[in-house]
Amino acid sequence: MSKKIVVTGIGATTPLGGDVKTTWQRLLAGESGISTIEKEWIAQYEVPVTFAGQAAVASADVLTPQEVKRLDPSSQFAMISAREAWADAGSPEVAPERLAVEFSTGIGGVWTLLDAFDTLKERGPRRVLPMTVPMLMPNGPAAAVGMDIAARGGVRTAVSACASSTEAIANAYNRLQTGEVDIVVAGGCEAAIHALPVSAFAAMHALSKRNDEPARASRPYDSNRDGFVMGEGGAALVLETEEHALARGAKIYAELAGGAVTSDAYHITAPDPEGSGAARAVLATLKQAGATIEDVKHINAHATSTPVGDIAEYNALKRVFGDLLPGIAVTATKSSTGHLLGGAGAIEAIFTVLALHEGVIPPTINLDDQDPEIPLDVVVSPREFKGENLLAISNSFGFGGHNAVIAFRKY
């Protein structure tokens, strides 16, 4: 018999706020975290996209100068979000060997890597910082979080582009089911608003080009959507067996009812238009949750605001839910936060958890003219979400054909 896994702590630093509370309030208020990038490198390199979802609170305002110096910006976001989640969970007393970390990034320490290359070119190899390797490695954020909370039950990093942190949460679910550990801190982060990644995403025509109206640029499901908007930040959840949580009298936000990962083997960047891999991930998740398609009442969609991606996800959902789909409340919160890449799944997991816990589904903004090819029930203003046994899923898909889905149940 499978164990019940619960969420006992949440933390985040996002384009909407430096913590969960601020982020959630601004999300419910229908605000946008997207703004113009006021940095020299935009003009210096003539970067074609000049806006993004930049972290609302600078990490340097939260961490010590030494932490800022020794952690890549992605790891800084990881630390800030994980510390908030850990404190929110009541800083649980747990044997270090029974505590694990699953913390993702999509890209890794890209700022560190590129800064170090600049240093090498300008000042030679002796001036390259000795911390460069541990700062740029993609497992850096997980390792930093693991050291911070003394997690000795395994510290792992799932890397699957924009599906990364949903996969991390699915891995955490499985890890807790094995009985090897009692608590897993799971999450994701990204800090890639740098001239190179922005130019690279722009080169593949993945990004919105609405330089003149950044707050209106991320518009999932809108007929005039023209690409995603890069975001940055971090988000973390403390996941725990129900038995362990109850024994220590923890506050419980929701049940993590399941999580599954599949792959398309179709194209390196394009989603399978049939959505069969994504559909299998949804169904596998529901099977773990002991649920049926009738049980799903809310979906926090991947919905990045790309012309192709939003339709592919719709097709996958249609394949799974059929005639039930119009009755499911869907939201696309990237409209407010932008796309946190490796951090996207974790922040959207928190939004899904809060929708269940607070009884309100956060809105999708900028939906002026819904694409007639995507006839979903999109939530455009905060909608009451109350009832018994509610189940919600959160989807994430990534370049490479990665599909990851997790399910939460009202507790």
Partner: protein
């Protein structure tokens, strides 16, 4: 022109503080970098390179292992300057 021991100690203390957060007045001549100040080899290499920049001296890699205490480092820099 040779730098004074006092000048070098003050400058080194600032570099150590910036890298590790250790208070400048804790960086005294008799302190051992590893045993007293808990400075690891990665931080030590950053400190060495920053000292080279600040004091205009060259500290060869093979010399670094001999700089066990703050006093060792200060004396090396003073004599090399």
């Amino acid at each position: 022109m040779a730098l004074s021991q006092t000048e070098v100690l003050a400058g080194l203390a600032e570099i150590v503080n910036e890298e590790t957060g250790i208070a400048t007045d804790a960086v005294a001549l008799d302190k051992h970098f590893t045993n007293d100040l808990d400075i690891d080899s990665i931080s030590m290499m950053t400190i060495v390179v920053n000292c080279e920049d600040k004091f205009g001296v060259k500290i060869p890699d093979e010399e670094v292992k001999n700089l066990e205490t703050v006093g060792d480092a200060v004396n090396f820099i003073v004599s090399a300057s």
